[in-house]
Assembly symmetry: C2
Homo-oligomer: 637 residues x 2
C-alpha cells in the first residue's frame, strides 16, 4: 500500500488553508478540548490538601475547607486575569505573548521554557495516572504499563492529528460525562447533608480523633502553605484557552473569554463542592481509596452513579493529556514564528493543526513515560512548577499593561508591540488584582520548588535555562542565515562564477555513463571523465570500451588514476578538490554523477552506493555543483 | 573527533592492495586462525557420544571407544578428501567451488546456503558456549549473558577487521595453549594408565553398573548412529582451510594441505586420547562437570594444569567463533563474485579483509544470540546439519572430479570450468574413498536432521531453500541490470535527448536562489523559476524582490502557482512532471535545486528539508536531471 494512502486513511483528506475558519471550535467543543486538564484536577486536588494536613493529625483536616476556599479564590483571581488577557490579546496571548509585550524577551522566554516543560509533563503525568487507574483495576496489566501508556499517547496523538474539531468531538463525551456525574453526586450530597426535600440524611464518618501533633509558629504556617500549594494543582491547565484564542470561531476573544469563565465556574463548583462535602463527612485520605471515590460511594451508596463517576474519572485523567496537545504545539509555533524554535514547528499539516509540534510532544512525552516507567508519582515533583512560574510572569505582565492603560485618558488609544490598548475604567483596581495574583502564584511557585527540590524539581531548575539557551542559539542561527542570504547589498560581482569544466567520475563505460557524458558535453566544452583503476585489467577493459565509441569520446579527456587501495572515493574527491583549488579557484566546478537507479527500492542494497556517498562527500565543498544524471532500470529484485 | 581518525585508531592504517601477499599467513598462524573450531570440539565431542549411550545404562559406555574411532576414521576420510580438494583447487575450493565445478550451480548453491547458515551458527553457538563457561563460574553474570556474548562478538569482529595476520597472532595463544595443555594431560594419563616410567598408576572410577536397558535390532542401531552423529560434532570447522587457500603464503596449496593435515592430526590425537582415557577410567557424563574436566582432574589431581586446561577451554570455545569469521566472509565473497550475493560483499576493506562480510556475519550472529538469549543448547539442533550436507556435496563433487581424472591418460591435462587437472595414479581408489566419505557424511546429515527436526532443524530446512531463492533472485537482478546497461547494440539514437529547459523551484529571492538562477542561465536559454505561493502576502513579497534585480530576472520566466494547502512539494512535482510529459516528452528535463547548506550539520534540523525531499521525489522519474547548486553558510548552531 502506498504510504500516501495510509496517511489519508489515518489522518483524513487534507483541508485547504482557506478552510481554517470552518475548523474553528464552537464553545461546547472548545470547553471539552481545553478544559479536560483543569476539570480533571478535581479527581485529586482536594486530596492533595488533605494529605498534607493529615501530618498534623485528623483534627487538622478541618483546615481543608478554608484552604480550599483560598485556592478557589486564587483560581478566581487567575481566571479573571486571563479573561483580561484574552480581551487585550485577541490573537492569542499566553504568558509568552504577554511577557514579550510587557516584560521583554528574557521574561517571555522564561515563561515559554517553563510552560513547554509543563505541557510535556501534563501529557506524561496524565497518561500515567490514567494507566494507574487501569492497573489498579487489573493488576495483571501492571507489567505492560509502559506499553499501555505509550499506546494511549499514540491514540491521543492520532486524534489530534486528525484536526482540532474532530478532537473536540471525540473528547467532549468524557469531559461532560465526568462533570455531570460529579456535579450530580455533589447535589445529592448537599441535599442529603442539609436534609432538604425529605431525602434521607447522611451521617458523617465516626472520626477517631487521632492524637494531634502540634506545630507552632513558622512550621505550622509552612505546613499550611504546603497544603495550599498541594491544592494549587487545581490551577494546572487553566491558562490553555489564553494561548488558543485563534482556535475559536469568531468573535474569537469574546467566545474564548466566555468559555474561560464557564470552565472556571465548572471546575470551581466541583472543587468547592467536593472540598465542602469531604470536610463535612469527615473523610480521611486513605492509601487504598481516593477521597472522590469515598465521597461518591458514601453519597450514592455505590450504585450505577458510583461506577459512572469512577469510569469517567479514569477517562478524564487520560484526556487531561489533551490540554498539553492544545498548548504545546501552539506555543511552540509562536516561538518558531519568532525564530526561537525550528521554523518548521509553525507549519501546519494536512488537517490545519501544528503536526510537527504534536509529533515532537508525543515523542518527548513518550520518552519521559519510558524513563519514569509510567510512574506519575515520580514525575509529580517536576510538575506544576512551570505553570505557576508562568502564571506569575503573565500576571506581572498584565500588571505592567494595566499600568500603561491607567495612564491613558478616556478615548485615547495606544499600540504596544503586539496589540492595541484603549482607555479603561478601573484600570488601577485591575492592576491591584494582577499584583495580588502575581504575588500569590509566585509564592506558590517558591513553595513548590523548595519543598520538591531534592525529589526532582532541580531537573526543571536546570531544564529551563537549558531551553532558554537553545532558544537564543536557534535565534542566533537564523539571524546569521538571514544575513548571509540577504540581498540588501548584493552586487553582480558577488555571484560566484561558473567554471567551464565538468568532471564525470565513472567506473565503467555503459549506457548510464554514456548518457551522463552526453549531458556533460551539452553544458561544457571541457569535459573530463575520471576513473580510478584499482587493477590493470580494469584499466584495460575501460580503455577498450572507451575506444569503441569515438563519436562520444573523441573530443573529451579520459583521466585514469591508478590507486592501490580500495576506497576509491578518496582519490575521486581529492582530484575534484585539487581541480577546483588550482585550476578554477573561487568558481563553481560542476561534477556530473551518473546515477544508476533500480526501479525497485529494495534492489539498491545490491549496489555500491558510490553515487550517494560521493554526493555526501562533495556537499561539504562550497564551490561544487552536483548534477545527478539518472539511469533507471526496470528490474525487479 | 573526526570519524576517519576513530576508524584509523580502531582498525589501523589502510594497507595498499599490493601488500596482500605480505598479509598472508604462515603455517603457525594459519593453524591458529583456522583450527580453533575443530580443536575446540574436543571440549565436548567425546561427551556427546557418551551422553547418547548412557540412555542404555553405563555398561553401554564401553561402545564409546569404537564409535569414537569410527568418528576419527570419518574425520580422516574427510580430511584426506579435503587435502585432495586443496591440491586440485589451488585458488581455494570449499564445497561451493567443488560443487560448482562438478555438480552444477544448483548443488553448489545448496552447499553454499548450508555452509553460510552453519558459519553464522558457529559464531552464535561458540560465543554462547564461552559465555556459559563464564556464567558457570560467576552465576551473578547470568543476567548479563546476552550483553557479554554480544560484547565478545564485537571483540572478535574488531580483531578480524584489523586484518588476518593480526587475528592469527592474537588467536594463536589460546589455540596452542589449549592444545598443549590437553595433550599433556593425555600423555600423563597414558603414562599413569600403563604404569610406565614408574609413575603412580591411576585407578578407574568404581562403577556402579546401572541396570542396563536393552534395546534390540533397529532401535539399538539407531541409538548407536545417534551416538555416532553426536561424535560428528568433531567434524565442524575442518573444511575451513579449503576455502581459505588464498590466505596462505605461497606455495598456497602446499602450505594449506600441510596445515590441514597438521590440524587433523592435532584434533584427532586429542579426540582419540580423550575418548580412550574416558573409557578406561570409566567416566560417566554428569550434569555438573564435563568429561574433559573430570578427566583432567582425575589425571592431574586438580593442580595448576587443571586450571590451565579449564581456562583455555573457555577461551577456545569463545575463539571457535573465529573459524566462522574466516569462512563466512570468504564464501560470501565467492558468491558475490558469481553475482549470487550483493557485489559489495567481495570488496575488501582497509586491511584487505572482506569487511562487509565480517560485519554482516557479526550482525546476524548477534541477532541470533539475542533471539535465543545466548542459550547455545537451544541453538544446537540447528547446528552442524549444514556442515554435514556440505561435506557430502563436496565429496560427491570430488568423486565426479576423480572420475574425470581417471579417464585421463598419463601426461594428459584437461581444463574444467574452474581448474586444471592432470593424470594421476590411483584416481579410482581415491574415488572410492570419496564415495565412502560422501555416503557416510550424508548418513550423518540424515540422522542429524531427523533426530533434531522438531527441536529446530526444520528452521534450517526452510532456511536453505530461502537462501537459494535469494541467490537466484540476486543473480537475476544483476543479469537484468547488465542487459540494460549493455552497450553491445547501442546506437547514438538510443541516447535520451536533453531538453533545452531548466526549472528552478524557489521559495524566495535570496543569495542562494540568485546563484542557482545564474547557474541555470549558463546552461539553458529557457529558464523557468517556479514558486508555490500559499498566501497573497508571500506572492507580493516575491514579486517585489524579483523586480529589484532586473539584470538577473529580465530574460527569464517567473511562474507562480497559488496553492491552498501546505505540502508545496506536490504542486512542484506536478508542474515538473507535466512539463516533462507535455512539452518535452522523452527528453531529459533539468531541475536546478538551490540547496542551502549550513556548515554545521546539526543546524540542518532547523531548516525545512525541502531540497532533499524534492530530490527524493524526483528521483523516481527517469527523465529528470537534478542539479544541486549549494549555498554554504558559515553559521554555527
Amino acid at each position: 500500500m502506498d504510504p500516501t494512502h495510509i496517511k489519508r486513511f489515518l489522518i483524513g483528506k487534507p483541508f485547504p488553508t482557506s478552510r481554517d475558519i470552518h475548523e474553528r471550535l464552537d464553545k461546547v467543543r472548545a470547553l471539552a478540548v481545553f478544559a479536560s486538564d483543569p476539570i480533571s484536577s478535581n479527581a485529586y486536588a482536594t486530596e492533595a490538601i488533605m494529605s498534607v494536613l493529615l501530618i498534623l493529625g485528623s483534627a487538622a483536616l478541618s483546615m481543608t475547607l478554608p484552604i480550599g476556599l483560598a485556592v478557589a479564590g486564587l483560581v478566581l483571581l487567575v481566571i479573571s486575569s486571563y479573561v483580561q488577557t484574552i480581551l487585550h490579546y485577541p490573537d492569542g496571548g499566553g504568558a509568552y505573548t504577554v511577557a514579550k509585550d510587557n516584560l521583554g524577551t528574557f521574561a517571555s522566554l522564561v515563561a515559554a521554557a517553563a510552560l513547554l516543560t509543563d505541557y510535556i509533563l501534563t501529557v506524561s503525568v496524565s497518561v500515567s495516572a490514567g494507566v494507574r487507574a487501569i492497573t489498579s483495576a487489573v493488576p495483571a496489566a501492571f507489567e505492560y504499563r509502559v506499553i499501555i501508556a505509550i499506546a494511549a499517547i499514540i491514540f491521543i496523538t492520532w486524534i489530534n492529528l486528525r484536526g482540532v474539531r474532530e478532537s473536540g468531538t471525540v473528547f467532549a463525551i468524557p469531559t461532560y460525562a465526568f462533570f455531570g456525574g460529579v456535579l450530580l453526586v455533589i447535589l445529592i450530597g448537599l441535599l442529603r447533608h442539609f436534609g432538604l426535600f425529605g431525602v434521607s440524611p447522611i451521617t458523617p464518618v465516626e472520626q477517631e480523633v487521632a492524637a494531634s501533633r502540634s506545630l507552632v509558629g513558622f512550621a505550622y504556617i509552612w505546613l499550611l502553605l504546603r497544603a495550599f500549594a498541594g491544592g494549587c494543582t487545581a490551577l494546572t491547565g487553566i491558562e490553555a484557552i489564553s494561548n488558543g484564542v485563534q482556535a475559536f470561531k469568531p468573535p474569537e476573544s469574546k467566545n474564548a473569554a466566555v468559555t474561560m469563565v464557564a470552565m472556571g465556574a465548572m471546575a470551581m463548583s466541583l472543587f468547592v463542592g467536593i472540598t465542602f462535602l469531604a470536610t463535612q463527612l469527615h473523610l480521611i485520605p486513605q492509601e487504598a481509596e481516593s477521597i472522590l471515590s469515598q465521597l461518591t460511594r458514601r453519597i450514592t451508596g455505590g450504585g450505577f452513579l458510583y461506577y459512572w463517576v469512577q469510569f469517567f474519572t479514569a477517562m478524564i485523567l487520560f484526556l487531561a493529556a489533551n490540554t498539553g496537545y492544545q498548548d504545546f504545539p501552539r506555543l511552540s509555533s509562536f516561538l518558531a514564528k519568532d525564530d526561537f524554535l525550528p521554523r518548521w514547528m509553525q507549519n501546519r499539516g494536512d488537517r490545519l493543526v501544528y503536526s510537527s509540534g504534536i509529533i515532537v510532544l508525543a515523542a518527548v512525552a513518550s520518552a519521559i513515560v519510558f524513563v519514569f516507567q509510567a510512574d506519575e508519582i515520580a514525575m509529580l515533583p517536576l510538575y506544576a512548577l512551570g505553570v505557576m512560574l508562568s502564571f506569575s510572569i503573565s500576571q506581572a505582565g498584565m500588571f505592567h499593561l494595566m499600568g500603561r492603560i491607567a495612564h491613558l485618558k478616556p478615548g485615547e488609544t495606544m499600540r504596544t508591540s503586539v496589540t492595541e490598548i484603549h482607555y479603561e475604567r478601573n484600570a488601577t483596581w485591575k492592576r491591584v488584582l494582577n499584583a495580588i495574583g502575581a504575588g500569590a502564584t509566585f509564592v506558590v511557585f517558591i513553595i513548590l520548588t523548595s519543598t520538591k527540590f531534592v525529589e526532582g524539581a532541580w531537573i526543571v531548575a536546570l531544564l529551563i535555562p537549558a531551553l532558554m539557551y537553545i532558544f537564543y542559539a536557534v535565534r542566533r542561527h537564523y539571524e546569521r542565515v538571514a544575513a548571509a542570504l540577504s540581498t540588501g547589498d548584493l552586487s553582480m560581482d558577488d555571484i560566484t562564477e561558473v567554471a567551464n569544466v565538468v568532471v564525470i567520475p565513472i567506473a565503467d563505460i555503459h549506457r548510464g555513463t554514456i548518457l551522463a557524458i552526453e549531458y556533460a558535453k551539452r553544458i561544457s566544452s571541457d569535459v573530463r571523465v575520471l576513473s580510478i583503476t584499482t587493477a590493470p585489467e580494469i584499466e584495460e577493459r575501460l580503455l577498450r570500451r572507451w575506444n569503441r565509441f569515438p563519436e562520444i569520446t573523441s573530443d573529451i579527456q579520459l583521466i585514469t588514476i591508478e590507486y592501490d587501495y580500495r576506497d576509491i572515493l578518496n582519490p575521486l574527491v581529492q582530484y575534484i578538490e585539487k581541480l577546483n583549488r588550482e585550476e578554477f579557484p573561487d568558481q563553481l566546478t560542476t561534477v556530473v554523477v551518473p546515477e544508476f537507479i533500480p526501479e525497485h527500492r529494495l534492489a539498491s542494497i545490491l549496489h555500491n552506493q558510490t553515487a550517494n556517498r560521493l554526493r555526501w562527500r562533495l556537499r561539504e565543498h562550497k564551490d561544487i555543483v552536483i548534477i545527478d544524471v539518472p539511469f533507471h532500470i526496470d528490474s525487479q529484485l
